[in-house]
Homo-oligomer: 199 residues x 2
DNA sequence: GTCTATACCCGGATAGAC
DNA sequence: GTCTATCCGGGTATAGAC
């Protein structure tokens, strides 16, 4: 939520610049119909212009997606980098990922739903998105994790994604777009229980 | 399976009928590239024929998908129906879903990844696929479940899908395509811990 | 910055011969 | 059952006027 807010005052008119409006509209449509399932005609219609006008602001459909992704991607990258410096406790790391999932909720669904999106991401990323996930799993599973611990790490990660999405669609967001603290705690606890065996 | 199977041993070569080969090839390609990301030409190439030949066996691309889905769909439906008769303990229900996830592993990814697939499914189904999921969540959460219990049910369901996929990609399948019993137990335990609060 | 018009391609599907 | 040839629609993108 830090990187995505550094807009210049000039670029921020009352309703936002056209470029920003396009991003907002696209984010919404991508979330509902997927990236491939959304046409630039859809976006243009919502924007109230023609498709040609869109291309004045963005050189391609893929660039619109990139514009949407680079905020969350930077956040993700920052988390990954911090893992190299110190190993945070699992509870903290899981909490960070809940917040990331909530902040990029419209994109979260799109990302691991559309193979075309994965291709675009991998095009930009230093490492493949699969490697990215593996890095997180490794951090959750801890050093020298055996097969069972790795599976549990995947389980915990799945809880983060699945249960926070569920909480949000159950109406767990306040006016500012933050997850209800009780819901957040519930998700976090479930993830931690999945991660650690009893006893 | 009486009259249709004794039809000319010639039609049933060692590798199976052309129709079956198309299904196998398609399942594979859909899993790797997604449904929308796979073209009829892709399938035809793999099959060693032209696209026109494909249309002798299937009237449309969507029908190929339907051919792949109706097996797992029937399984799913059977589970749903059994819920009406008796409420199985959560551990049993979760176990059933692990096996379903494993048996339809190539399709599992396709199903909740491609919006186009959801549309095709909803076209055939008596209830929407969203309602289907809700039905399972309700069964897992138990009668009179509050908000927190519902979130935990989603968490457990997410573990089933995420962790069994992970176990499989870690090489947890034997020659017969069954999940390693130890892995299965690990996934099931994690799901149960996610579902039930400690104490 | 936005328009009209259109090029261009690709994917699904069909016609009809063999 | 499979082929060649082709249609058709829709989707991205561009040209050029205003």
């Amino acid at each position: 939520m830090s990187s995505s807010t550094d807009r210049t005052a000039a670029a921020t008119r009352r309703a936002g610049s056209t470029k920003e409006r396009i991003l907002v509209i696209s984010r919404d449509l991508f979330a509902r119909q997927g990236f491939t399932g959304t046409t630039i005609a859809d976006i243009a219609r919502e924007l109230g212009t023609t498709t040609a006008a869109l291309y004045y602001h963005f050189p391609s459909k893929a660039d619109i997606l990139r514009g949407l992704l680079d905020g969350p991607m930077a956040d993700y990258q920052r988390i990954l980098d911090s893992l190299g410096v110190r190993e945070p406790p699992a509870a903290e790391l899981l909490g960070v990922f809940i917040d990331l999932a909530v902040n990029s909720r419209e994109l979260a669904a799109v990302i691991d739903r559309d193979p075309a999106v994965l291709a675009i991401i991998d095009e930009v990323l230093p490492m493949s998105s699969q490697q990215l996930t593996e890095r997180v799993i490794a951090a959750l599973a801890g050093p020298g994790a055996d097969r069972a611990a790795t599976i549990r790490a995947h389980a915990a990660f799945a809880v983060i994604k699945g249960a926070s999405m569920a909480a949000m669609s159950l109406g767990g967001l306040d006016a500012d777009g933050n997850l209800d603290p009780a819901d957040r705690a519930e998700v976090l606890d479930a993830a931690l229980r999945a991660l650690y065996r009893r006893g």
